[in-house]
């Protein structure tokens, strides 16, 4: 063993010091020959005779040198280079084979890596902090009315007084901190922009265990007096993107919401936020919350467990403490939401939290996609195996020739393995590119604000799986191919390969599996495509064209509520005066935009109308501003629109109801002027408008009440402008008008409404796109595989077919003979694939719109398409079989 290792080391040294070693050997030989010659001359030979004798005595110097080079290991490398070169030539020669094989590998590797990376970032990855398993989220638990439903509202923010009490009195946490997301306007003197920020308690970084990349992090002293700490810690990514990684950033002043703040540090690289989808650009002390215009007096709370304390122990202790605090304060003095909270609930937060429901929304689709791409990888491997087996069969003759002229078996196996490796490497390299593109593509389709890094473990795993497949199936034919009898193979005899029958069965099995998997894909793809079509065909009840919207941050620009209203009013007037503008309005959130607190619903009472027993009538509620209906093209059927006077003060006076509402309560009566009570407030109906789906494409048309957005709701509205022509052309003019009114108001996040509607079905589109793409790809691969197997089968049976035809078989009979096999394989594939598809589609429940997961039409169509492709793949070789000329075949014998 030691000797072997030494020899190997010498070989490696030999390869690198090769030139010098060659030269040295030359010198030694030269010296040796000289010494021999001199001896012969001394014995009385002439120079010529001596030289000849010396050479004879020494032996063949060229052979010697070659032997030495061989021993030093150079041959090993030379052979490898030769193999690689030959392998590359084979790949170039069989372009289609190479392309199909490498592409399927790349897709398998790329798709798996991309989707797993995303899933990992959203669900699995722990926060990059010390001992993340000690972190817990401290949330309130409230039972919603009616109590018998027992539906708990979880993770409610903790009121500030309770947080303060808990942080002083608890004995189970080594630290407890609070945070809250805000938006802020940052101005560094040259450019004002809106960024996402976070208010954090002074111990946020220390308890979290996140250090500073530059400067320092907050301490408790940075968070003592309300409104007195003008310091900020910016994130690593923001430092790089906005400040160009300026090494002298610490101590620099920037303006946040028009007040000067000092940057005291840059937080550590890799840490974004406790929320998996968020990445605040900067953090400021919690005591600055008034300046950040954060009116909430309850915030999310997280804590770090003391070492050795389990989450259950902490839960009991924290809850007991919470109960005593509640008793002490009396429920009434706490915020309203908390009065019903019965207990404190701790949940592990080592993997971060998901405030925006990103996890819940995308968990199922991503898991499903991972399942799909796992099958893609499987198909890719099946396909590679099939292709390699087919190629080994095709290369029987070449290998026989090489064996016949004396190639060693090991040498041949090495050659074939090198080719498999080359293919896998090509696939892997392409896969890396695909993974990169795939991740970017997925990120573009998801509402994520942070970057996703490729998961190297998954990349490694998929690479190993594919390379192993390549090697395994590259090796099997290599071993088999080098074991067969040379003579029949050279004679081009089909029966020449021993073990051929078994391999043939293996290929059939592979094809059957491919057909089955493709069918699963086709069914899934079909379901999602049809679901997407259904979504797109939904009648919204309003227009999506020619509307552009943008955010205005009035709330953080120092406006009082009255000033805000007058600003909006003035801006509306100016904008409507612009040529090309039809109307303008403001909305807290756009139609179809996900609402952070869910849709607003209220109980309703209409005098004279009786609600059915055991059921409380409810209605959807929407706060709007004047011109909402005109801008979104919702028809005003009766009465009037709101005006700005309607939203003065906090007392609701008037509402507009939708057609469904009016018909339900008033039938054909005129609802105008009727008084109703919604959520306990009295209103007069002043208008009726057409029905519209404002919350979701999937909702059913419901009774809806529109009320004027009161002043407290006015901060941070989105401006929506409806254009006569192209809305995009108006953006510059709109910005200009805003700037003329107040240059300090930032205009940001500009979108056309059509884009936004697209965004609202991004999840569905993503899945439909990917699953149908994979479905078509799988179908193509299955077709190719089937074709390959059938073509091979026909080639093998040419002689038999010739004899049959000579004995009187018709072309039709022969065609059927060849097709029968195809149909058999496909039928088996479908028989396996259909139940598999039904099992897989069960996972899609809740992700489909307008059809069920076992939609017979989709499944029937998918089966038909599969059959049609299979029939085509089988027909081409079958036709070739039918065209066999019996005379030709028989003469070949």
């Amino acid at each position: 063993m030691i000797h072997y290792l030494r020899a190997l080391a010498a070989r490696i040294r030999g390869f690198f010091g090769d030139r010098r070693a060659d030269q040295e050997l030359d010198d030694e030989i030269e010296t040796h020959l000289r010494l021999l010659m001199e001896r012969y001359v001394r014995q009385g030979m002439t120079e010529d005779e001596a030289s000849q004798a010396a050479c004879r005595q020494f032996g063949n110097a060229t052979l010697l040198k070659e032997a030495h080079r061989d021993m030093r290991g150079i041959r090993f490398i030379e052979t490898l280079i030769q193999d690689v070169r030959y392998g590359l030539r084979m790949m170039l020669k069989h372009k289609v084979f190479t392309a199909v094989a490498a592409l399927s590998l790349a897709l398998g590797i790329g798709a798996n890596t991309a989707i797993f990376s995303l899933l990992d970032a959203l669900l699995l990855k722990t926060l990059p902090v010390k001992n993340p398993e000690q972190l817990v989220f401290v949330g309130g638990l409230e039972y919603q009315y009616p109590p018998q439903l027992d539906r708990a509202l979880r993770n409610i923010p903790i009121p500030d007084p309770v947080y303060r009490e808990m942080s002083e009195k608890n004995k189970v946490f080594s630290g407890i901190f609070t945070y809250n997301w805000v938006e802020a306007t940052v101005n560094d003197g040259s450019l004002a922009e809106r960024v996402s920020g976070q208010l954090v308690s002074g111990n946020f970084f220390t308890v979290m265990g996140v250090g500073a990349h530059l400067g320092r992090i907050f301490t408790d002293d940075d968070d003592r007096t309300p409104g007195a700490h003008f310091v900020t810690v910016i994130s690593y990514d923001y430092w790089r993107s906005r400040f160009g990684a300026d090494p002298n950033i610490v101590g620099k002043k920037i303006s946040i919401n028009t007040r000067p703040f000092t940057i005291i540090g840059v937080s550590a690289q890799g840490f974004n936020d406790v929320d998996v989808g968020a990445a605040p650009a900067l953090r400021v002390p919690m005591m600055m919350k008034d300046l950040m215009h954060d009116p909430r007096n309850d915030t999310p709370v997280m804590a770090r467990l003391k070492p050795g304390i389990s989450i259950e122990q902490a839960q009991v202790a924290a809850d007991a403490l919470f109960q005593s605090i509640i008793r002490e304060y009396g429920a009434s003095s706490l915020s309203n939401r908390y009065s019903n909270a019965s207990r404190i609930e701790l949940s592990p937060a080592g993997r971060g939290v998901s405030a925006s429901e990103l996890r819940d929304r995308y968990l199922q689709p991503l898991l499903f996609l991972l399942c799909l791409v796992g099958m893609v990888l499987l198909i890719a491997c099946l396909n590679i195996a099939n292709l390699l087996l087919a190629r080994a069969a095709a290369r029987r003759k070449e290998i026989a020739v090489r064996l016949a002229v004396g190639a060693g078996r090991l040498r041949l196996i090495r050659q074939l393995l090198t080719e498999s490796f080359l293919l896998s490497t090509l696939g892997g390299a392409l896969g890396l590119v695909f993974a990169r593109i795939g991740t970017d593509l997925l990120l573009g389709l998801l509402p994520l604000t942070r970057e996703i890094k490729l998961d190297m473990r998954m990349l490694g795993i998929t690479l190993v799986v594919t390379v192993l497949t390549g090697v395994l199936f590259g090796l099997a034919p290599a071993l088999q191919a080098t074991r067969f009898d040379l003579i029949p193979a050279l004679k081009n005899d089909a029966a020449g390969m021993r073990g051929g029958r078994r391999k043939w069965e293996l290929r059939r099995l592979l094809v059957v599996l491919q057909v089955a998997l493709s069918l699963v894909f086709l069914v899934c793809g079909g379901l999602f495509v049809r679901s997407l079509q259904n979504l797109k065909a939904v009648d919204l009840g309003y227009t999506s064209d020619q509307i552009v919207s943008m955010s205005l941050a009035l709330g953080t620009s120092g406006y009082t509520t009255d000033q805000q209203r007058s600003f909006y009013q003035q801006l509306s007037e100016r904008l409507t005066a612009l040529p090309g503008v039809k109307s303008a309005t403001y909305a807290k959130s756009m139609p179809l935009e996900p609402k952070p607190y869910g849709k607003e619903e209220g109980e309703i009472e209409v005098p004279g109308s009786h609600s059915p027993p055991n059921e409380k009538l409810t209605t959807l509620m929407h706060p709007i501003t004047p011109q909402f209906f005109a801008t979104f093209g919702i028809p005003l059927l009766r009465g009037r629109d709101f005006n700005w006077q309607d939203s003065v003060g906090r007392i609701y006076k008037v509402v507009i109801v939708n057609d469904r509402f009016a018909r339900y309560f008033f039938g054909n009566e005129n609802p105008l002027g009727k008084r109703i009570s919604v959520a306990g407030f009295e209103f007069e109906i002043v208008g009726v408008v057409g029905d519209a789906r404002l919350n979701s494409l999937k909702e059913t048309m419901s009774r809806t009440v529109y009320y004027p957005a009161f002043t407290a709701l006015l901060a941070n509205q989105r401006l929506c402008v409806r254009a006569m022509g192209d809305a995009g052309a108006l953006i510059a003019a709109i910005r200009n008008e805003v700037r003329r009114l107040d240059p300090n108001v930032p205009v940001y996040d500009i979108k056309t409404f059509a884009d936004q509607i697209d965004e609202s079905i991004s999840r569905e589109r993503l899945i439909a796109l990917l699953s149908s793409f994979f479905g078509l790809f799988a179908l193509l691969l299955a077709g190719l595989g089937l074709y390959g197997v059938m073509a091979y089968a026909v080639a093998r049976r040419t002689r038999e077919i010739g004899i049959r035809m000579a004995l009187g078989a018709q072309a039709g009979n022969v065609l059927w003979l060849a097709l029968r096999e195809t149909l058999l394989l496909v039928s088996i594939g479908v028989a396996i694939g259909l139940p598999a598809a039904l099992a897989v589609t069960r996972l899609t429940r809740g992700m489909l719109f307008g059809l069920t997961e076992n939609d017979p039409l989709t499944i029937g169509l998918a089966t038909l398409v599969m059959m049609a492709i299979a029939a085509m793949a089988g027909y081409l070789p079958a036709r070739r079989a039918a065209q066999v000329d019996p005379m030709m075949v028989l003469r070949q014998e």
Partner: protein
């Protein structure tokens, strides 16, 4: 010429693997030598009985070197030429001892076997 060929025919081929042993022994007995010197010594000891392509000495030297049984360094030869001098290492001596014992055992067995046949 014909006379020369006759002499050649009488020479015995060097048994595979024995050359390494001879080279080791020469280096062990005589100290550092270059390839030519080793060839001369083997020629001398064998009384011109062994037929040796002297080039093969170098193959043997490389093999021994790769196994770490000998080392080499450059020096100057008798005729003032650059020459590589080989010397035996500690592990080479150990190997030589083992091989020698092995060789003697086998030689003994073969000798006995041949005598046995002669008696029949």
């Amino acid at each position: 010429m014909s006379k020369g060929r006759n002499i050649e025919a009488q020479k015995a081929e060097v048994l595979q693997g024995t050359l390494d042993l001879m080279v080791l022994k020469v280096l062990d007995a005589l100290g550092p030598r270059h390839g030519y010197g080793i060839a001369r010594r083997i020629e001398q000891v064998s009384d011109q009985v062994l037929q040796l392509n002297e080039g093969t000495v170098y193959t043997s030297l490389l093999r021994l070197q790769q196994r770490g049984w000998i080392t080499s360094e450059w020096g100057t030869s008798e005729n003032n030429r650059k020459a590589k001098y080989y010397s035996i290492t500690k592990s080479g001596r150990k190997q030589l001892a083992g091989e020698t014992e092995n060789w003697e055992r086998i030689a003994g067995v073969i000798g006995r076997l041949l005598r046995l046949e002669g008696q029949e």
